[in-house]
Amino acid sequence: MLALSVHNLSVQYQQQKVLENIHFQVPKGSITGIIGPNGAGKSTLMKAILGLVPITKGKVDVLEQPFTQQKDLIGYVPQRSEVDWDFPINALDVVLMGRYKHFKRFRPISKQEKDLAMTFLKEIGMEKYATRQISQLSGGQQQRIFLARALAQNTPIYFMDEPFAGVDAATEKMMIQLMKQWKNDGKTVIIVHHDLQTVQEYFDHVLLLNKKTIGCGKTSDVFHPQNIERTYGGSLTFPPSIAGSSL
């Protein structure tokens, strides 16, 4: 079964083509990386799929139904830079946002919901920081909080935009482990990523993107030097691991 399938998706911004005829599929229960150079339109693609950026044409299906009917099945972790870190909100409140659908109007948030949010914080090792204002957390801790919010949403599909940017090694490792666990539970994770070194280790599927689809499929099939060179336009020196492995 396909978790996500994108047909002929194009995005234009003031007569400039940002994405052209993007075409790709993501099978259910996979961890898929969206890979490409700066300005390739990775974040834009993610936002276009989620309906956060208007698309000029194209079709997006989620779990083999049109996206508009399936919105509730998607959890989204935005780029870290998109949040005002001085905002008066603490870690627990961020996680609680993920439970929005379960809140009742005119009533304060229930004890059960709060306890539930705490268990998610525990799962990522952040229960001690529940009442910390978010600017008083390290980059890695901040990212963990947003991961916990995604956990709280409990959706079958997750989209993450550069989740490892500005994150310490321990957190990155923990996050990847958590995602692999999700995968085993049958969930699908789609990640915008730019570190070529870790692609083979993290993702079982990749989409190579540079305004157009360069390649899409299993990492072992698609992620080879010719495709990478086509994606990065030859301006890249390969990390030794990849260059060595297949040349």
Binding site: K47, L50, G75, V83, D84, F87, P88, M97, K101, F103
Partner: protein, 289 residues
């Protein structure tokens, strides 16, 4: 002096005005928190200045000083100004601050032009129209307080009902959209509440300084708490105190304009908070180092 105080407090009209200033201060302090966190301080300044030609125009049109009529005019020009600002940002290379500056000064200048037209060419009782520039509590009558009070209470009620939506969309717009909050409606509602507060505030505080009643209390409140819920209550309280002190002092002391006194009170509260605030005040930060 003391007898003045007593006669003042005994005057029923003044009691009404005090209630009005209290409610207005509280509701603008609450809405101001969202304005501040959404970084809309300057655009709301532009909106406030832009109400002046609306007020003057309605007066010319209907020769009527009834508050609701004038406030409809204020709302229209203020909305017009906002959409002009957005048009300029979207269609030219001018940035937000220049766009706001252009619209603010031109609308206000045109308002002054209309006011001078009223003074030159219209007979009858036009006193009170130019009190919209700096605000004049003395010009407020019981009926005006009804308008101010009802709108303030409505603003507060809607904020309580939709607090979570306002909160979440302000903090993380894209995520809010993702979890199914109708963000367009929420933004529209919050914006309407902002317009409402500005419009009912101009008579008491004046178009030039009403923006201070929105942002100064909320800025001050931020120094006392890291929770948005508490911040809105503290900010509302600061706003209410400012409204009250400003109104009383300007009524007791001759010639003292109401708006600037309200704003000055809010500023004093801000500086106290900046220095001694329990969460981020300068003293606390020094000690923490």
């Amino acid at each position: 002096m003391i007898t003045e105080w007593i006669t003042l407090l005994e005057s029923p009209n003044f009691r009404w005005v005090m209630i009005g200033s209290l409610l207005l201060g509280f509701s603008s302090g609450v809405i101001g928190c969202f304005v501040y966190l959404r970084k809309q301080s300057l655009i709301s300044d532009g909106m406030a200045h832009a109400t002046l030609p609306g007020v003057a125009f309605m007066y010319i049109l209907f020769q009527n000083k009834s508050l609701p009529v004038l406030l409809i005019g204020a709302t229209v020009t203020s909305l017009l100004a906002t959409s002009f600002i957005q048009m300029i940002i979207k269609q030219t290379k001018l940035k937000t601050d220049a766009a706001i500056g252009v619209i603010l000064s031109v609308f206000f200048g045109f308002g002054i032009l209309l006011l001078s037209y009223i003074q030159q060419n219209m007979s009858g009782n036009q006193a009170g129209i130019d009190s919209f520039i700096f605000g004049q509590a003395a010009s407020i009558v019981k009926n005006d307080v009804y308008t101010i009070g009802v709108v303030s209470l409505l603003v507060l009620l809607l904020t309580v009902i939709f607090f979570r939506e306002f909160y979440y969309t302000t903090f993380d717009f894209t995520f809010s959209k993702g979890i199914g909050i109708p963000v367009k409606w929420v933004n529209g509602l919050l914006f309407s509440l902002l317009v409402a507060v500005i419009v009912i505030g101009i008579q008491m505080v004046g178009v030039v300084l009403i923006v201070a009643l929105l942002i100064t209390p909320s800025l001050a409140a931020r120094y006392w708490t890291d929770s948005l819920g508490k911040m809105t209550v503290i900010s509302g309280t600061f706003g209410a105190i400012s409204g009250l002190i400003g109104t009383i002092s300007s009524s007791v002391i001759q010639n003292l304009p109401t708006g600037p006194m309200i704003v000055l009170t809010a500023s004093v509260l801000f500086f106290i908070s900046l220095l001694f605030g329990s969460k981020r005040g300068m003293v606390v930060r020094r000690l923490a180092r």
